[in-house]
Point group: C2
Chain length 151, copies 2
């Protein structure tokens, strides 16, 4: 019974948290789907924060804290999906991802740093500091997209 | 400058963490894309745990802890995407999602409970307890898919 139910739950996706050897067994299309899913969800949970920064939607500290926490996890998820094996899959990713790995890693680290700071600011509870931190996350998103993603 | 970079980062996705009024402004197709993204990533991070339970890949406590933590967030993310407005979008979702909302909510809660227990087991560090908890998460996935998702 457990086996049957588990089987219903097993997805082709055996990606995350794996050594390169294990990742190599995941289809490139699956890796792309997974990394795009992480981007989609970063958008879902960062979008409202941008709305608050711009004053388009009311500032809500509870949503900021919740979404910042989600982003803390989500901002770790896309990167192992950019393997060499995915080079041939048609996406908006620019070849610079593979041509300039150190620069790409730096861009990831910039986002992580900004998201960690956003979480700290959210805990601090100062709206001005939170909004500055939201701005810094936005800059990290934009900087990476500018260099590694088609316009 | 901040504005320019932020704009590069703003996605159409203004979903998560919103009241129904705000959610109503998000396109149904976007809500579907976001909830499917959450399912995709649950698959990415739960798949390896199933592999460990089945003995297909070596047990790795660090990966269990990391993935269980991710699942703690991810298992909260799909549900606000199942709005009435998305009924018309072609997906594998069964009409039971909207016809039996209490039962659907119960299925979500079962997953949440199982994922919280998995995190507790991962912290406890007993491999047998962790594997039992992985099995329970799998049952929760399977039970929900059986009732609310096309075969």
């Amino acid at each position: 019974m457990r086996k049957k139910l588990l089987s219903a739950c097993i997805v082709a996706a055996l990606g995350g948290g794996f050594a390169a050897a294990a990742l190599a067994q995941v289809k490139p299309e699956t890796l792309v789907k997974q990394r795009q899913a992480a981007m989609t969800l970063q958008g879902k949970y960062f979008g409202p924060l941008v709305g608050m920064l711009k004053g388009n939607i009311p500032y809500d500290a509870a949503i900021v804290t919740r979404n910042a926490g989600f982003l803390d996890d989500l901002s770790q998820m896309p990167w192992d999906g950019f393997t060499d094996a995915t080079k041939g899959v048609k996406t908006a990713t620019l070849p610079a991802v593979w041509a300039e790995p150190a620069k790409f890693k730096q861009a990831q680290d910039q986002l992580r740093t900004a998201v960690v700071a956003l979480n700290a600011a959210a805990k601090g509870g100062n709206e001005g500091a939170v909004k500055a931190a939201i701005g810094d996350v936005g800059k990290a998103c934009g900087a990476c997209h500018d260099n590694f993603r088609e316009k």
